[in-house]
Symmetry: C2
Subunit: 195 residues, 2 copies
């Protein structure tokens, strides 16, 4: 297969898609974010990144907290809507049912099957337009019907994937295998030629 | 729907899955990582996080570079295998065809349909077992047959998703909608009760 070079860009596939919540003074506000990822297991931490021009950044830093809501695929219109309008001009506090959990400055979306409340640990700038917020995951709320054997079940959560640049949302597909297991089938002595 | 609280953990669904490459002295080495995410668009940057005990960390810091290879679903056995064995004891430089692109200290996997070469910009510790590496994406290599209209096509890349905790790999599923578009169908005045 011929390799071609592309201009450098944010080419990670897929990106997860989350709705980040924080209080803007006394008003709950939300932003849709695809720039996110787990960064640590113990203690559990997540990073989200957002352009400095976004309304939410100031409030995340002021509150030193935020929520991360995993939307299910049946929330796709709401999720996209939240990403289309800035909290500066649009009050998003009344467009869905909320709950506040143990950290009131990190409001959560009730319809979301899985929500995390995070304490801001670090705000990082790396020479560009974004701020990176690293939060410790302190509280986790899940819909009871999305749990299997005590853990969130991706087939019940039905999260949304995002392919940037062509602006498409996708669902989770078929099961491919078990981690730390299917690799036992790999024969390291049978090198594939990459084609 | 009843909300239940779970113990705090790394509950992001789905996680992307990538193979990170770096040189260990003169030997290409690879590690499978699910703790990753885009953190900035301009300039494009990606974060990966890895436990300090991992063999790769030292070399990423020494080389100040790494590659990020997006594995396709037909690479699942290789991808899992790379995650199962440490480069300290296992030479992974001969298990698949490699190419080196413009940054030789960031070796890439030829079979991977999309590979990024990154310059290490920041190493961050946030009070725990992991180091977070933020890299600027300087070079992008793609298989020509995975490109549509000049961009990587997720339906051709067929990347792998990971659900941590239950240790499952998944494919990309059905198309759900267009970003910055399907939200136009949302009626902000028809509040759903979340259940």
């Amino acid at each position: 297969m011929k390799k071609i070079q592309l201009q450098p860009n944010t080419f990670l596939y897929p990106m997860p898609l989350v709705i980040v919540g924080t209080m803007a003074d006394d008003r709950p506000n939300f932003i849709t974010i695809a720039y996110c990822g787990i960064v640590q297991h113990t203690p559990p931490m997540i990073s989200i990144a957002s352009s400095k021009v976004h309304f939410s950044n100031k409030w995340i830093k002021r509150n030193r907290s935020f929520s991360v809501n995993i939307p299910s695929s049946d929330m796709i219109e709401l999720t996209d809507y939240i990403g289309m309008y800035s909290g500066r001009e649009t009050d998003k506090s009344e467009i869905c049912e909320l709950f506040c959990g143990d950290i009131p400055s990190a409001p959560m979306i009730k319809q979301s099957p899985l929500s995390l409340q995070c304490k801001l640990m670090e705000s990082i700038e790396v020479g560009g337009v974004n701020e990176i917020f690293i939060g410790e995951i302190l509280k986790v709320y899940a819909n009871e019907d999305c749990i299997t054997n005590g853990l969130p079940d991706i087939t019940k959560l039905q999260p949304i994937l995002f392919s940037m640049h062509d602006n498409n949302y996708w669902g989770v597909g078929k099961h491919l295998g078990k981690a730390w297991n299917i690799g036992k089938n790999f024969n390291p002595n049978t090198k594939k030629d990459g084609q």
